[in-house]
Subunit: 100 residues, 4 copies
């Protein structure tokens, strides 16, 4: 069970909201396929891709904020190597987001 | 018919490839929902979002390259206001991609 | 002479404006050193870095627009391998900007 | 005195390294001015801008990691509103970096 492994309960409160946003993003991915299938204008497809990228980034930033608020703070309160590990892990995830 | 509107035939050759990549991206969006549903570890979800964002960017850069190669070059060969318009439109799309 | 090499005269008109913006960016880089020297608060330094990054991106997007408007359109009007080369080159530069 | 205000001592250890990197970035900003002054080829200027943006991002990610490791962990160990405030502040800085 992942909770006992990681002690994370951070985003459960907002779970339905995240699921709704991710379903909308899945719909955008399907909409893009339809646009390519129908040979819509490239620029219009690119506009949709930018919107979808922003929506994804926004989900990522939300999850990251909850991760910092819960997991990282919890680990920091305990301190020691687990705290260091959580921070390194979060920093790496942030670097991937900034560079992707 | 969109072709007659915009005179674009750019990505038709690679259409099947784009559709395949977009289906995979749709699958990633569904995978993310499953991860949130199962309350997987935040960091693992963020890693998947970074991968999905890169896949989307890669589709966008491919489409943009084909757009420049076909539509923009074609308009530039004719010249005049249509050429200027196509360049402005492409520049705006690029700016949205860089900033998203 | 670089003009004869590449036939570019694109950004000469806006040259003074670009120089002014780049001098401001240089000033921001010096300001950041002062902030680190004085051990200013990390978050305030990060805010300055975000502003500087946006300013740099804005210069890049301006130069790219002028490059497309002049060099690429000119090459496209001539057509052939030079046109193809210019487009590939521009696409690669765009990819670097999107990913940086 | 900023330290007593924020309790941050995070990046002092790496201060000389940050200063060195920021001086190099300042040098890149001057190099860009020289390139524009000499009307160098746009694509070469854009390549330099991408390199400079990556260097800046790398400084930002380093500072952010030190901020999380020191300030945020310290605040989290104490807990309460100060901890919440530090997390919100860090999340906002991350969002600015991701979007810039």
């Amino acid at each position: 069970m992942s909770e006992s492994e990681h002690g994370h309960v951070g985003y459960i409160a907002g779970k339905d909201d995240y699921l709704k946003r991710l379903r909308r993003i899945e719909g955008q991915a399907r909409g893009l396929q339809k646009m390519v299938e129908d040979e819509k204008y490239c620029i219009d497809i690119l506009t949709q891709i930018s919107a979808m990228t922003s929506a994804l980034q926004s989900v990522a930033l939300g999850l990251l904020d909850e991760h910092l608020t819960h997991c990282v703070v919890q680990a920091a309160a305990i301190g020691g190597p687990e705290s260091d590990h959580k921070i390194k892990e979060a920093s790496s995830a942030i670097a991937r987001l900034v560079r992707s």
